[in-house]
C-alpha cells in the first residue's frame, strides 16, 4: 500500500522525497535503474519528511521494536525507533552479529544470501515493524518476517521508502501489510 492511497494523497512531502532520490542507470549491473537514497540523506528536509511520515503512522500502534535490514535499513530505522520509543534491532549479513543468532536464507537473482538476528533481541508477542529502503521482489523482507516470527513476535507491518508499483492496493508480504512512501523515480526527474 502506498502512502498516497492511505491518507497522504497530494501531500507535498511525498513529492519532495521522490524528487530527492537519484536514479543511477546500469548499477550494479546493466539494465538496473538503481534508486539511490543517498541523495535523500543529503536533503535534510526531505529526509526529515521521510522519518516524520513513518513516525506519525507508527507512534500510536504500540510498536515496541523497529527491525532494520542491513545496511540501508540502518539509515532509517533508528530515527524512527527513537521517536516512537521502540528498540532497534539490526538484521545483518552473516557473521556480523557477535552473539547467538538465528538465520534465514533468501533468494537472490543468482544464488542465495542469509539474514541474521540476535536471539533474545525480540521477545514473544512484541509488536514489530521492519524497515528497508526499497522493496523489489520482497525476498529480503520475507526473510526478515520469518526471523521475527520465529521468536513468536508479531510483524505489524513492513515499511519502505520506495516500492515497485506492483505493491499498490492490498499487496501483502507473507500475509503482512506493506507500507511504501513512493514509487521508483524516473531517470530524468533528478537534475
Amino acid at each position: 500500500m502506498f502512502a498516497a492511497e492511505n491518507g497522504l494523497k497530494g501531500d507535498p512531502r511525498l513529492e519532495a522525497i521522490s524528487a530527492a532520490i537519484r536514479v543511477v542507470p546500469d548499477f550494479p549491473k546493466k539494465g538496473i535503474m538503481f534508486q539511490d537514497i543517498t541523495t535523500l540523506l543529503l536533503d535534510h528536509k526531505a529526509f526529515k519528511h521521510t522519518i516524520d511520515i513513518f513516525v506519525d503512522r507508527y507512534k500510536d500502534m504500540q510498536i515496541s521494536v523497529v527491525a532494520g535490514v542491513e545496511a540501508r535499513g540502518f539509515m532509517f530505522g533508528p530515527s524512527i525507533a527513537l521517536a516512537i520509543g521502540a528498540k532497534f534491532i539490526p538484521l545483518r549479513k552473516p557473521g556480523k552479529l557477535p552473539g547467538k543468532v538465528i538465520s534465514e536464507s533468501y533468494e537472490l537473482e543468482y544464488g542465495h544470501d542469509r539474514l541474521e538476528m540476535h536471539i533474545g533481541a525480540v521477545e514473544p508477542r512484541e509488536r514489530v515493524i521492519i524497515i528497508d529502503d526499497l522493496v523489489a521482489t520482497g525476498g529480503t523482507l520475507s526473510a526478515a518476517i520469518s526471523l521475527i516470527e520465529s521468536q513468536e513476535a508479531e510483524v505489524v507491518e513492513c515499511a519502505c521508502v520506495i516500492g515497485l508499483p506492483e505493491v499498490k492496493g492490498q499487496h501483502k508480504l507473507k500475509g503482512k501489510p506493506l507500507y511504501v512512501l513512493v514509487e521508483p523515480s524516473g531517470l530524468d526527474e533528478f537534475c
Binding site: F47, P78, P98, G99
Partner: protein, 192 residues
C-alpha cells in the same frame, strides 16, 4: 578526549550507556573482547542518551555534514544529522555506492580494506563530523578524514560511542580531535 574529561563527569547517562553495552569474548576471533552495541540499541533510554549527548555537543558548531562509517556508523549518524540539521553521508565498503566515488585504503590487522564516499556529497569548506561506534586503532577514522578532506571539507571532530583508554586527553587523529563517550565495558561472567 572522553566525555567525562569535558564537562560530563558524573553524568549518570554515561553509566547507563556503558552498562547497556555487552561484551562478547573472542569475537570475531580469540583474544578480542568485542564491544556489542546492539544491546545499547535495545535500550531506548540509553540509546537516546547517546544521541542527545552528541546533539548537545554539535548543534551549535555549524556542522553541515555528518559522515558515518559502514555499518554501525549508519545507526548513530542519521539521528544526529537530523537533530542538528545536517546532511548524512555514508562512508561505505567498495562497490556499494552508485555514481562517482573517491576511495581511501586503510590497514587491517592482516591486509587492507577500502572506504568509499560519493564525490557529489560534499561541498568545499563544509564543516563535517565523522561518526562510528568504536575507535580502536583509528585506521578507519583516518581513512574517513582523508576522504572528506580530499573532497574539500573540514573535519571538525570524530565522534565514537566507545574508545580505548589511549584516546584520553588531547589525543588526536591526523590532527583532528576525537570525542568518545565511554571506555570499553568489561566482560562480566554473571551476565551470560
Amino acid at each position: 578526549m572522553f566525555a567525562v574529561e569535558n564537562g560530563l563527569q558524573g553524568d549518570p547517562r554515561l553509566q547507563a550507556i556503558s552498562d547497556a553495552i555487552r561484551v562478547i569474548p573472542h569475537f570475531p576471533k580469540t583474544g578480542i573482547m568485542f564491544q556489542d552495541i546492539t544491546t545499547l540499541l535495545l535500550d531506548p533510554v540509553a540509546f537516546k542518551h547517546v544521541v542527545d549527548i552528541f546533539v548537545a555537543r554539535y548543534k551549535h558548531m555549524n556542522i553541515s555534514l555528518v559522515a558515518g562509517v559502514e555499518a554501525r556508523g549508519f545507526i548513530f549518524g542519521p539521528p544526529i544529522a537530523l537533530a542538528i540539521g545536517a546532511k548524512f553521508v555514508p562512508l561505505r565498503k567498495p562497490g556499494k555506492l552508485p555514481g562517482r566515488v573517491i576511495s581511501e585504503e586503510y590497514e587491517l590487522e592482516y591486509g587492507s580494506d577500502r572506504l568509499e564516499m560519493s564525490v557529489e556529497a560534499v561541498q568545499s569548506r563544509e564543516r563535517a563530523l565523522v561518526i562510528d561506534d568504536l575507535v580502536a586503532t583509528g585506521g578507519t577514522l583516518s581513512a574517513s578524514i582523508n576522504l572528506l578532506e580530499r573532497a574539500g571539507a573540514e573535519v571538525v571532530e570524530c565522534a565514537c560511542v566507545v574508545g580505548l583508554p589511549k584516546f584520553k586527553g588531547q589525543c588526536r587523529l591526523k590532527g583532528k580531535p576525537l570525542y568518545v563517550l565511554v571506555e570499553p565495558s568489561q566482560f562480566d561472567e554473571l551476565t551470560l
